[in-house]
């Protein structure tokens, strides 16, 4: 009932001047049934319990509003004097109890299903970082980060916001359809939660723990979600996109990925020029560093210091490398050594030393970083 009324409410409100301009919402009022068997089961359970609540509300509020209407002093009624009935109390304790048992049975079944992570065909490790996700295909030897790809200009209202505002990433999690996928979920710094409504999976990513969840996606498509546990400044800016592909398309993608990983290794071993590192570094910086230190290197002091003219970025190379690789204790600076590959690390360090007028002129080779990491 409630949900049938909504289009009318929408018409009334939507036509008013106030909400007319700039409104791009779709007035969705209910949970998505999703695309998987589990999500459908969850949706059905949600609706059953919703309607039971509505039915109880109609009865209880019905009696109440009828009393308010009929038993008011202004109608000249005399109040009754009854104020106790053990029988009635027993009845209205027992009936809700029975209704609850009725709810608990399907809820238990659904929960047992959601917990059955056995016999998976593909294992993906998901790691939450401040503020991005890392996906590791454990058997396939492929792993990558997934960052928000909405440009800062859209967030700061400088350019129009496009359709998937805040729900788009540079690298979606690609999975095959009709395969039982097991997610192994953990975190590197604080607690995050990996949530994709369309597959009804929400699981906390906790440092030191590995949580499990699973899904079988029957339809190819893009399924979007967000981090669901407050994880600091950019909690609202670490979306999740799952791209489900047919097995053939997935295999193709996986092949390209594995090839690219091989190429990355080649890049790591080659000798780079300053220009090459700067070009690559600018991109790495924009994705990984600009959120705190600003695209212009000016930061947001005092929590996020400026890099332009900073003692570290213009000081000696070893100190600079150390901070980027290992982070800085007691500050928001996290350790990027495990988050970026040697090429990206060398590029971004070089970029920071030579951008915004820092002009130190020195640079570091990816292979040196790789050797340093092996030594540690």
């Amino acid at each position: 009932m409630l949900f049938k009324v909504i289009p009318w409410v929408r018409l009334i409100i939507g036509s008013s001047l106030f909400f007319g301009a700039g409104a791009r919402a779709d007035w969705e009022v209910n949970m998505t049934p999703g695309v998987t068997e589990v999500s459908q089961q969850v949706y059905d359970l949600h609706m059953i319990i919703f309607w039971i609540c509505v039915a109880i509300a109609v009865v209880v509020f019905g009696v109440m509003f009828w009393s308010i209407f009929a038993h008011r002093k202004s109608r000249g009624v005399k109040p009754a004097t009854f104020h106790e009935s053990t029988l009635v109390e027993i009845i209205w304790t027992t009936i809700p109890f029975v209704i609850l048992i009725g709810m608990a049975i399907p809820a238990t079944t659904a929960l047992i299903d959601a917990y059955d992570t056995s016999e998976s065909e593909l294992d993906i490790k998901i790691t939450g970082y401040q503020w991005k996700w890392h996906y590791d295909y454990l058997e396939e030897g492929v792993g990558f980060f997934s960052n928000l790809s909405t440009p800062a200009d859209e967030i700061n209202n400088l350019t129009p916001k496009l359709d998937n505002y805040l729900l788009e990433v540079d690298e979606p999690l690609v999975v095959p359809i009709n395969k039982k996928i097991r997610f192994l979920i953990t975190a590197n710094d604080v607690i995050h939660a990996w949530w994709v409504p369309a597959i009804a999976v929400k699981k906390d990513a906790i440092p030191g723990f590995i949580n499990e969840a699973w899904t079988i996606i029957p339809e190819p498509g893009l399924y979007r979600g967000q981090c669901a546990e407050l994880c600091g400044k950019d909690h609202g800016f670490m979306p999740i996109v799952v791209e489900a592909k047919t097995q053939a398309d997935y295999d193709l993608w996986l092949g390209e990925r594995q090839e690219a990983a091989a190429k990355e290794r080649e890049l790591r071993d080659k000798v780079w020029t300053l220009e090459g590192l700067m070009e690559r570094g600018e991109k790495v910086y924009a994705t990984n560093c600009a959120a705190c230190h600003g695209l212009d290197g000016k930061g947001i002091p005092p929590a996020f210091p400026a890099l332009k003219n900073s003692a570290i970025a213009t000081g000696d190379m070893a100190g600079h490398v150390d901070v980027v690789l290992n982070g800085s204790a007691g500050t928001y600076m996290s350790a990027f050594g495990s988050q970026l590959n040697p090429v990206e690390l060398a590029a971004v360090i070089t970029y920071e030393r030579n951008a915004w007028g820092n002009n130190i002129g020195d640079f570091i080779q990816p292979i040196d970083i790789a050797n340093m990491q092996v030594a540690e």
Binding site: I13, I68, D163, D204, A228, K233, D234, A303, Y332
Partner: protein
């Protein structure tokens, strides 16, 4: 002899000037202090909510940056819980419990003074962090580790000491209330003759004594982790971030009942008066309240359905949580049965009380939905949860407090409040509150996570409605301030009974209540 009498006479009235308030051990003065303090905190916490709603009016970042937004959500929650709702209930208990049980004052008057006067210091500590380097706490009012420890701003230490002082204040307040209720009742008032407000507060006070030390424990562990090298909550040092959540919610779930049980008591006083009919099922109300208090200790992990507790644990906490619906249902049915075949009028306290029953029940229904663990995977940490707890806290706790103030204000200050303005305050609050929080159910179900400063475009319209509602609700509270001040300074003189034949000892003394009441124990029918 005569000098002794004259000496005694000097102390009947309060001291003059600021000394009256600073040194007072009078339960009425301390009640007044608590209530004004909580109202100021209500406005401070409310203005933070206005910042939040203004930022969420449209997608994109307009007014504040994410850093500051997180400080606002955190401080809003902490201030409303510890600064507005809890002190307001303690203030009401101070004013009303002695008058309701026929006692001359609280059992421990000096401690009563202390438990109030440390509160301003606690909140000064907490609020001062807004002006410090690193900013105020930004990890949410639930302050989950390690975001609140390893990754916290340095001001977290001020927050920890603030919480410690608030906890000490609450524990002292609770001890005082228990001591008063158990020892200072007029002889004929047996436990099962106590007004329900006294009963609910007695149970609340026991909850406070049970869980405030747990809160103190968890913040102390945080302090150790931050400054003394322990690793209670740090996985890197062999600790357990989930332990934090277990300990926090072992405090946190009884805490949310601490914020609602006294309101149950208030509504149980008001509905019979304006229905002109005795409360239906007094005994079952007492038992239901006790059951709710008991259950509150064994349901904490329903806040943690997504942290990955084992299936058996998940099932246990789901079933236990669902059980709460039974005693809560009994209470709602009893209120409705009290109204049924009464002779009702709808003065402002009754309007707030009736809307309490309806809107709190809506919050109860969404609570029942949230109890279903597999479905909670979709609700958890979305705006559906925000809608749920604001439905139980705003029309629950806050409307309960409003109802109490309108109901007992004539007894406190001797004047009637302006009924027309009171009704206006009710209707504006009612509309504003529903406009704010009802759409949050929709955006939550549609997938909007909570605690985000910016959101995807499909949530825009309902957020805009919620913001407009919040501005209406916020602005309306200045009207409440005006109504109360107006009633204190002028207004029709109130009779001793104030209302139409209300039940309770507080209505047998004149309005305004004299500075000292019940020097000799009154008779109870």
């Amino acid at each position: 002899m005569s000098t002794l009498e004259a000496h005694g006479h000097d102390h009947h009235g309060p001291a003059k000037g600021w000394r009256r308030w600073l040194y007072t051990t009078n339960h009425k003065d301390i009640g007044t202090l608590y209530l004004w303090f909580s109202f100021i905190m209500f406005l401070v916490g409310g203005s933070m909510a206005m910042v939040i709603r203004a930022e969420l009016f449209e997608p994109g970042l307009q007014i504040v940056q994410p850093e500051f937004f997180n400080q606002m959500t955190t401080m809003h929650g902490l201030i409303m819980v510890f600064g507005a709702v809890m002190p307001a209930f303690v203030g009401l208990a101070n004013w009303l419990v002695p008058m309701m049980v026929g006692a001359p004052d609280m059992a421990l008057p000096r401690m009563n003074n202390l438990s109030f006067w440390i509160l301003p210091f606690a909140f000064a500590l907490l609020l001062s962090t807004l002006f410090m380097d690193g900013g105020a706490p930004n990890f949410g009012w639930t302050f989950y580790a390690p975001l609140s420890t390893t990754y916290a701003p340095s001001t977290v230490t001020y927050f920890i000491f603030g919480v410690h002082i608030m906890g000490a204040s609450s524990i002292m307040g609770a001890i005082n209330i228990i001591a008063t209720i158990l020892n200072m009742r007029t002889p004929q008032m047996t436990l099962m003759k106590m007004p329900l407000f006294v009963w609910t507060w007695l149970i609340t006070a026991y909850l406070l004594i049970a869980v405030m030390p747990v809160l103190a424990g968890v913040v102390t562990m945080m302090l150790m982790d931050i400054h003394f090298g322990t690793s209670f909550f740090s996985a890197a040092g062999g600790g357990d971030p989930v332990l934090f959540q277990h300990v926090f919610w072992f405090f946190g779930h009884p805490e949310v009942y601490i914020m609602i049980l006294p309101a149950f008591g208030i509504v149980s006083q008001i509905i019979p008066t304006f229905s002109r009919k005795k409360l239906f099922g007094y005994t079952s109300m007492v038992y239901a309240t006790s059951s709710i208090a008991f259950l509150s200790f064994i349901v904490w992990a329903h806040h943690m359905f997504t942290v990955g507790i084992p299936l058996a644990g998940e099932l246990f906490f789901m079933y236990a949580t669902m059980l709460i619906a039974v005693p809560t249902g009994v209470k709602v049915f009893n209120w409705v049965a009290t109204m049924f075949r009464g002779a009702m009028t709808f003065e402002t306290p009754m309007l707030f009380a009736v809307s309490f029953v309806v809107l709190f029940s809506i919050g109860g229904f969404s609570g029942l939905m949230l109890a279903i663990a597999p479905v909670d995977f979709q609700y958890h940490d979305t705006y559906f949860v925000v809608a749920h707890f604001h439905y139980v806290l705003v029309p629950g706790a806050i409307f309960g407090i409003f109802a109490a103030v309108y109901y007992w204000l004539p007894k406190w200050c001797g004047n009637m409040y302006d009924e027309r303005l009171g009704k206006l305050h009710f209707w504006l609050s009612f509309v504003g509150m529903n406009l704010t929080f009802f759409p949050m159910h929709f955006v939550g179900l549609a997938g909007m996570p909570r605690r985000i400063p910016d959101y995807a475009l499909q949530f825009a319209d309902f957020n805009q409605i919620a913001s407009v509602g919040a501005f209406i609700f916020g602005a309306t509270q200045w009207l409440f301030l005006f109504i109360v001040i107006k009633a204190i300074r002028s207004g029709k003189k109130a009779t001793a009974e104030v209302w139409d034949n209300p039940e309770g000892l507080e209505w047998t003394i004149p309005s305004p209540a004299p500075y000292h009441t019940f020097s000799t124990p009154p008779e109870v029918k």
